[in-house]
Symmetry: C2
Subunit: 414 residues, 2 copies
């Protein structure tokens, strides 16, 4: 079961004026499950996205980037689960284009106004015979209050749907933020392997939204790892419909920028952490803080070196405070970050919760195994590495590595 | 059980004139198991080593490097299993020094002539009260024909001991090569997490042995991964006693250099592959060839990106030819090698055994799932990535990721 992930309550998810969602069961991989979602975005909205850095990025990812770069107003998103349309060559691109065309025809909009997304198995062609007839059904299902079902419709190996919703006061106007995401494996930046869709009825200038979307991703989805594998299909999309009546945000100096930005980051962190809480086989939610680094790159490299170490993660699963493995993971982080080659292990400190575990290159004299065990017995574990060599810091979130991770991924295609 | 790892037969392991090995049961972590080994090296021998790059490298590793750099003739090695003496700060260094002193006193040699090695749990102090009284016992047990027991005495989570032995004809003289190694987790270059000791009675000039030891490691122990974790204690030592009577090798132009170098590489590859065959929880032995890269770094990065992907490794465990995961791992290798950022996925080819699986950015038209399944059902699996962008190539060896990997590492300290 996911680690402390609150259940989605459809009634608490605020509809976003200007966004409608329609789902259906296309039978792409399995029957009797929601696997196709169409999101309609009203004219006048701003839409930005960030995508996987994987060189084998999927055909729909390439097409999304093309359509976003074209400067066309984006009016619809189409998302299928069950098949990633990645590693599918020329045919994959044709299939992504035909999917956009089908949505465009059904909704009477231009093909370039459609962003396509796919998630699921790689190296197999999209079953267009199932997908195409389902598109009109999803479109006819469009409604503003379908966020909870939409969260279900994008799931792959996720156990639970993931959604966030809030309302904030923005210089007098009420502004709503609602988002959904899905994991649950092949999760590692950049991007984490996931889909995330975040909408607000605030008004944000398109070019400025492009700028802050990357920042929001860096503070949320790019801070998580489940298994160290970066997927072919990661996409994170922010939509701002502007229908709240709040003043348009065009720069960091605009009224309400800070409050809205913080709320979008909060929503994205919730959705990113939700992916980790429901990481494949996860039984623990682990927060790794790295402080006192020379650069954010140093901090992130160490955080992920710990966060993706199979040895650290299996010890966490066993609730065994075998923290020497954390030191080892810190020590080999220089493999991926040259500036760490002069890391002074005598200068750093490791804390498990609030308890100092290591200093001066070894075990802290005050540290007692029982202290480590008491923290390890919790489902939420936090550790902090203080490098004492600079001012940069970061936090990453990860989960443990259990029998069920192996089981889920050994049986994925069966 | 290890994958196709031949059992060690003590009678087939050639003693090396000038090398004696003595073991005992010190009770460092568990009772009734060989856990302390002393290797005596005759005067006039050359000894070289390469060590882990982990910044948290263990006290004995630091002391080994110091003693090797001092220019002293190395006359003894002392190796304990059950405790890594890593992450142990100042006390750890004192314990390593005291261990060397105890060996030196017992054998009547200088303390700087001793190389210490430890392997086992991190962040706990060496139990000197158990280790010190055992040293005279190990020394009194020294004999030339103890290679098989020595291979057992250095094991940690290894299921089976690992040893290699051969005899070659070197410009008329008979030269012997015998070596041992141990894994089985925290295995990833540089170095792989292991101990390896290789001895020959050939004569090799000290400075030239230093030069080729790194090359030998790069062609063997630095080509393997079990779990992507680089240990704090990796050490690989080559000893050349010169007692075969063969002409001394001082450069690449020396008589017999090529034959001896090839044999040392062959021995090291056998011992390195043995670690993978007995990798924690391994059920498959996987060879990944990467060809047509612009540089060896590119080839190794892609090889290890595949070889340490939990998703690839769990699919291998399940005997599921879910080869899209291999493409994904190729695609995100650019995370760790900038020159791969312009990798053309349409130009590369993926072969599973001899069967072409992917080309032109997608599944090869000729590929049938049954072909992949037939190869996947074997215990030895080979795949080849042809990048078609240069002349560099490499081969790496890895294993699958099973329930038993999780079990072994969840229960390691119990």
């Amino acid at each position: 079961m996911p680690v402390n992930l609150p259940a989605v309550n459809a009634e608490t998810l605020n509809p976003i004026e200007g966004i409608r969602l329609g789902w259906t069961e296309a039978g792409i991989k399995k029957t009797n499950r929601k696997d196709l979602l169409v999101i309609e975005v009203a004219p006048g909205s701003s839409v930005s996205g960030v995508f996987t850095q994987n060189r084998f990025c999927a055909a729909p990812v390439k097409l999304c980037q093309k359509h976003l770069a074209s400067g066309n107003q984006i009016k619809a998103l189409v998302i299928n689960t069950g098949n990633a349309n990645a590693g599918t060559g020329e045919q994959g691109m044709k299939d992504a284009i035909v999917t956009c065309q089908a949505v465009a025809e059904t909704m009477n909009i231009e093909m370039e106004a459609v962003l396509p997304f796919s998630t699921g198995v790689i190296l197999e062609h999209l079953p267009m015979n199932k997908l195409l007839p389902a598109i009109p059904k999803a479109v006819s299902n469009l409604a503003t209050d379908h966020w909870a079902q939409a969260a279900e419709a994008i799931m792959t190996t996720d156990i639970a749907p993931k959604a966030y919703s809030s309302q904030i006061d923005l210089a007098g106007a009420k502004v709503k933020v609602t988002g959904i995401s899905k994991g649950a494996g092949m999760i590692h930046p950049n991007m984490a392997t996931m889909l995330g869709y975040l909408a607000t009825d605030a008004a944000i200038e398109q070019s400025f939204l492009d700028e802050i979307t990357k920042e929001i991703a860096d503070l949320s989805f790019n801070c998580i790892s489940v298994d160290g594998d970066t997927s072919t299909n990661d996409s994170f999309i922010v939509m701002a419909t502007g229908q709240s009546g709040a003043e348009k945000i065009t720069s960091r100096e605009s009224n309400g920028f800070k409050a809205l930005f913080d709320e979008l980051v909060k929503a994205s962190q919730f959705l990113a952490q939700a992916i980790v809480r429901d990481g494949e086989g996860a039984t623990k939610f682990i927060t790794v803080n790295v402080k006192g680094a020379k650069s954010v790159k140093e901090a992130k490299t160490i955080g992920f070196s710990i966060g993706k170490s199979p040895l650290v993660k299996t010890a966490m699963f066993a609730s065994d405070p075998n923290l020497g493995r954390v030191l080892a993971a810190i020590g080999y982080a220089s493999r991926e970050c040259e500036s760490l080659e002069d890391l002074d292990t005598n200068a750093l400190e490791l804390y498990f919760g609030d308890v100092m575990v290591a200093e001066k290159g070894g075990r802290a004299e005050s540290y007692l195994e029982e202290q480590g065990q008491a923290i390890m017995d919790q489902a939420e574990i936090e550790m902090t590495v203080v490098l004492n060599r600079g001012e940069a810091q970061t936090t990453i979130w990860t989960c443990d590595f259990s029998y069920d991770y192996v089981k889920i991924n050994a049986e994925y295609r069966t």
